[in-house]
Amino acid sequence: MAERIVVTGLGAVSALGLTADETWASARDGQTGIALHDFDTGPNGSGVKTYPAAMVKGDAGAALEAVLGRRIAGSLDPFALYALKAAHEALGQAGLLGAPLGPRAATVMGNGIGGLQTLEKGYERLFGQKAQKVHPLTIPRVMVSAPVSAVAMEFGIKGPVFATSSACASAAHAIAQGAALIAGGLADIAVVGGSEAMASPGGMRSWEGLQAMSESTCRPFSEGRDGMVIGEGGAALVLEREGHAELRGATPLAWYVGAGMTSDAFHLTQPSLDGAVSAMRQACEAGGFLAGEELLISAHGTGTPLNDKNEAAAMRELFGWAAPRHPVIATKSAHGHIIGASAAVQTVIGLQALNAGLAPPILGYLGADEDCAGIDLVLGEARPIRAKSLLVNAFAFGGLNCCLAFRTA
């Protein structure tokens, strides 16, 4: 039997806090990171527009520089900064800071769009200010692999290093790929997760154009839900070959037990029932989750009318009569939709929920919607749970689905 893969560290930066613990505590306590925020297109643009958004509070760059003991934030786009901060925290918890991690370590992190804020600033200079030059480091700051390169350089990771990109499922694919590298013998340690920082003036206008954004807040599975709320941040997990972790005496936080990946091959923005069910089924079969034991489900739960209807239907189809047994959480209602980072942030919160025996509440809920009936939504306040298993759903634009399975015992 293949050696198991253990989770030995967690890290997160989000609107709920600058660490995994802060992010978890806020989610557990029902605090939201969503607030109205002004997005200014500047003197050459059309002005300020206000949207609900889940912005990182406090200075993540200063927090990172404080722990690294040197200046670095100015050289990175925020999406790379969040990844590096989360990776540092996760490796710290795993007891892997200090010596370079070397050729048997990997890092795979996902993002949906790269360094949009840097790109936007550069283009504003070019098209708005009519400047001749953009910042000379625009390309290395924007590239989708900037976060993993920063992580690899900081921690001396010399094995497989690459980024994944599958819109809102990017981090889920990254986590599964990192685990696959360990299972395939290419690494003993994989720093995995994702990051995103596309809550910029242009990014927000683009989402608005798609008519996918809520005008109030994210209300997963609720009547009256009217869309998603964009968030920013990043999260990381340290995955490790179990024997490697045992030899080091590392404390196991959870075990990665499998994933499911499907593509709808159907529509750019509409979800499909089959694609979602198949991805969930693969992950649940890998984890042995279909025997009826209570399972914590961290739903994709974006708060859009179509996603939540489709996702609830997928849970009913997959679990049948047992669907109401499984508590469903939807933490995007607190940290917003962090696009390519979402699955990583949700995994970090979900694993802490399992270890605490508490499911964090879905926020913004106004009342039952019959389209989302037949599943057990965790509402009101944190609820005690018995579940020792976690399913994380990620269903991306373009019909790219990736679900992750974890166990804590």
């Binding site: 040197r70 200046r71 670095i72 100015g74 050289s75 030059k133 910042h135 000379p136 480091l137």
Partner: protein, 81 residues
């Protein structure tokens, strides 16, 4: 050191993410640890601030920081003249 030199050193420290105290005018760029990537960021920021053009090959890594400041000052003065 002139007020403008102080300003320039502040920009270099910011752009190259360096401790200001390390930026000794007598030291060579390569000894300070300014690499080519740092240098393009520094040149970009100085061009922005003073509205000048600095040629890509204006500086050698064997130049001292003081020599670099002198060249930049000459460019700024030439523009003002």
């Amino acid at each position: 050191m002139s007020g403008r030199d102080e300003e320039l050193i502040t920009i270099i420290a910011e752009e190259a993410l360096m401790d200001r105290a390390k930026l000794d005018p007598a030291a060579k760029l390569e000894d300070i640890g300014l690499d080519s990537v740092d240098l393009v960021s520094v040149i970009f920021a100085i061009e922005e601030k003073y509205g000048i053009e600095i040629a890509e090959d204006a500086f050698e890594r064997s130049d001292t920081l003081g020599a670099v400041l002198g060249k930049i000052n000459a460019l700024i003065d030439a523009k003002a003249a």
